[in-house]
């Protein structure tokens, strides 16, 4: 086999052909490393440049480290709008451009949503609400030049990270509160559909602005919506199909009119029951493949859906990567490649961001074994 560039390797896998080895990813919104974990990794490697984060504590890994680990992907991301600025309060809380309040415990590691702004649950409130302006030109300032520069190298698989804070279902419950929105879905569906429609329209506008700049230059476009938790779907399949799926389909169709890049869909959790639905609406790559969640057995997923889906992720970040030994990590990587990588259709990545406290040696073992293992 000719020596494959990272891009060719990844495209082969995305087209369900088996390359020289499984392509590897690090650096996406759901596949990067948390700042504290990155600091520890840098110490062990002996790398001392300051850490850059693209949001909160999500690290933009340095190109030297991506080269060292032989990661095949490179990310581009939408910029911040000019009309909105992140203003951090003294207690490190802030309100994002959707109006959602985020807080972090003192000495804590993560921000979480703590207050949903749509309190009344009325259509009038939706009409009055100050929605983000998708067409703010700050979002794409310099983006085409940056992407062109990567594209011209023709070396890496270029992944355009998600241009919006979260998915459709995600944003609806972030804005309205989980209990309120989930009750609205059943008891006030007219209101719920209006909110879903508004959120979808803004998402479509954001993708339009983004992909008009770079849609012709990228290999993968990221979208997503967290539909599951550790052991179940958040909302039932019937509710999902009636209330959310039509809008996800609309969004995906819209994206596919703007780019030929492969459609990457992120959903955490136990989502087996709706994977056929995701395939039906045009999902080509499924991430993160949380194999510790109920029903997400990788061999079964490959057997049942491997013809239609590429699996991207699947390296356990709940138990093995943070708490296993380097040997256990290597064995885990081999197992996943055997389960998911035959005939292509697999990109190796942590099945969510690498957490603080993850031993650097485990991270190095993950990528070392990913590089070494092949089927021949």
């Amino acid at each position: 086999m000719e020596t494959l560039t990272p891009r060719k390797r990844t495209l082969m896998a995305l087209n369900h052909q088996e390359p020289d080895r499984v392509p590897m990813d690090l650096g996406g919104g759901a596949t990067t490393i948390q700042a504290k974990a990155y600091e520890e990794l840098k110490k062990v490697i002996g790398f001392s440049k300051p850490t850059k984060c693209f949001t909160r504590y999500h690290v933009e890994p340095d190109s030297e480290i991506l080269e060292l680990l032989e990661v095949d992907t490179r990310y581009i991301r939408i910029k911040k709008p000019d009309s909105w600025q992140l203003i951090m309060n003294e207690d490190e809380s802030y309100v994002d451009e959707w109006g959602i309040l985020w807080e972090k415990p003192r000495d804590g590691l993560y921000w979480s949503m703590v207050s949903a702004p749509l309190k009344k649950g009325t259509i009038e409130e939706l009409k009055q609400y100050k929605w983000p302006n998708a067409h703010d030109s700050g979002r794409v300032k310099g983006l085409r030049e940056e992407t062109l520069s990567l594209h011209k190298q023709s070396k890496y698989c270029i992944v355009a990270d998600i241009p919006v804070a979260a998915g459709i279902l995600d944003l609806c419950w972030f804005l309205r509160g989980l209990e309120n929105f989930f009750v609205d879905l059943l008891l006030n569906p007219k209101y719920a559909l209006k909110l879903i429609e508004l959120v979808t329209e803004i998402q479509k506008e954001l993708y339009t602005v983004y992909l008009k700049e770079i849609g012709d230059l990228i290999d993968v476009i990221v979208t997503g919506d967290d539909l599951g938790n550790q052991d179940s779907l958040l909302i039932g399949p019937d509710t999902y199909r009636k209330m959310i799926k039509p809008f996800q389909r609309d969004l995906i169709n819209h994206i596919k009119n703007l780019t030929k890049a492969k459609l990457f869909f992120h959903s955490c959790g136990a989502i087996r029951k709706v994977i056929p639905d995701l395939i039906e609406i045009g999902v080509e790559i499924l991430n993160p493949v949380q194999t510790t969640a109920t029903g997400m057995n990788p061999m079964e997923l490959k057997r049942e859906f491997g013809q239609d889906l590429v699996f991207w992720g699947a390296i356990d970040t709940q138990r093995i990567l943070p708490f296993g030994s380097p040997k256990e990590v290597e064995e885990h990587v081999c197992k996943r490649i055997v389960e998911l990588g035959r005939g292509g259709g697999y990109v190796l990545a942590p099945c969510h961001n690498i957490q603080p406290g993850t031993p650097p040696q485990n991270i190095l073992s993950l990528y070392k074994m990913g590089k070494q293992f092949n089927f021949k």
């Binding site: 807080e103 415990p105 993560y110 009750v183 179940s232 958040l234 909302i235 509710t239 708490f323 957490q355």
Partner: protein, 212 residues
């Protein structure tokens, strides 16, 4: 009479919010006691909701609507229950550990325990060990529930249980822990009495620990 309670349970399970007040008041007017409506109607209904949720036959929206049904009914029944001096089944104090702001699972667990007739005191998120101790002394619960979502905040569960031991009140309560990154082995290591993998199982485990 059991037909009355059956109707109440069915309406709660189906989440027919528009009929809560009518059905509950009708039952009271026809001679059912608040205690029987609670035990044989509401708790029976929530028991079915819990089992169906555990079996993935229904999901969070349906559970929230049934819990809302129960709240509305309880608002009607509570004054009558207090009048007759009725104690709840047992008391649960529940909170998310220090450093962790996640509460979806904790809230669901709280709803399920309320549905099972427990008095539930939810002390919120990002709870310091000392606050757990203070609330245990103040509320005297039978059961303590501790929740964590993150691998990075799980260790704070161990710290919390250690602090409870050092405060000399460990023997007063049973401790139940839960959250996605946890397992039985971890629960044992940190000195919890039990681990529950989901909200419905939490009620089963809680009752088992208390011999109910």
């Amino acid at each position: 009479m059991s037909e009355v309670f059956g109707k109440i349970a069915q309406s709660l399970i189906a989440g027919k919010i528009d009929e809560v007040a009518i059905i509950t008041k009708k039952a009271l007017n026809s001679g059912s006691t608040a205690k029987d409506i609670l035990n044989q109607g509401l708790m029976a209904g929530m028991g079915v909701v819990g089992q169906r949720f555990k079996a993935n036959e229904i999901y969070m929206p349906e559970v929230f609507v049934s819990a809302k049904w129960m709240h509305i009914a309880m608002a009607i029944l509570k004054p009558l229950l207090i009048e007759t001096g009725l104690a709840s089944v047992a008391k649960l104090v529940i909170g998310t550990v220090k450093g962790d702001l996640h509460d979806i699972g904790k809230n669901l667990v709280g709803m399920m325990f309320e549905g099972a007739g427990f008095d539930v005191v939810d002390i919120g998120i990002n709870v310091e060990p000392q606050k757990f101790i203070d609330i245990i002394k103040e509320q005297e619960p039978d059961l303590l529930g501790i929740s964590a979502l993150l691998t990075t905040t799980m260790p704070n569960m161990g710290e919390t249980i250690k602090a409870i031991k050092e405060a000399g009140i460990r023997d007063q309560i049973k401790i139940l822990v839960g959250g996605p990154p946890l397992n039985v082995r971890f629960a044992k290591e940190i000195g919890a009495d039990a681990y529950a993998s989901n909200a419905s199982t939490a009620v089963d485990k809680g009752k088992e620990l208390l011999g109910l």
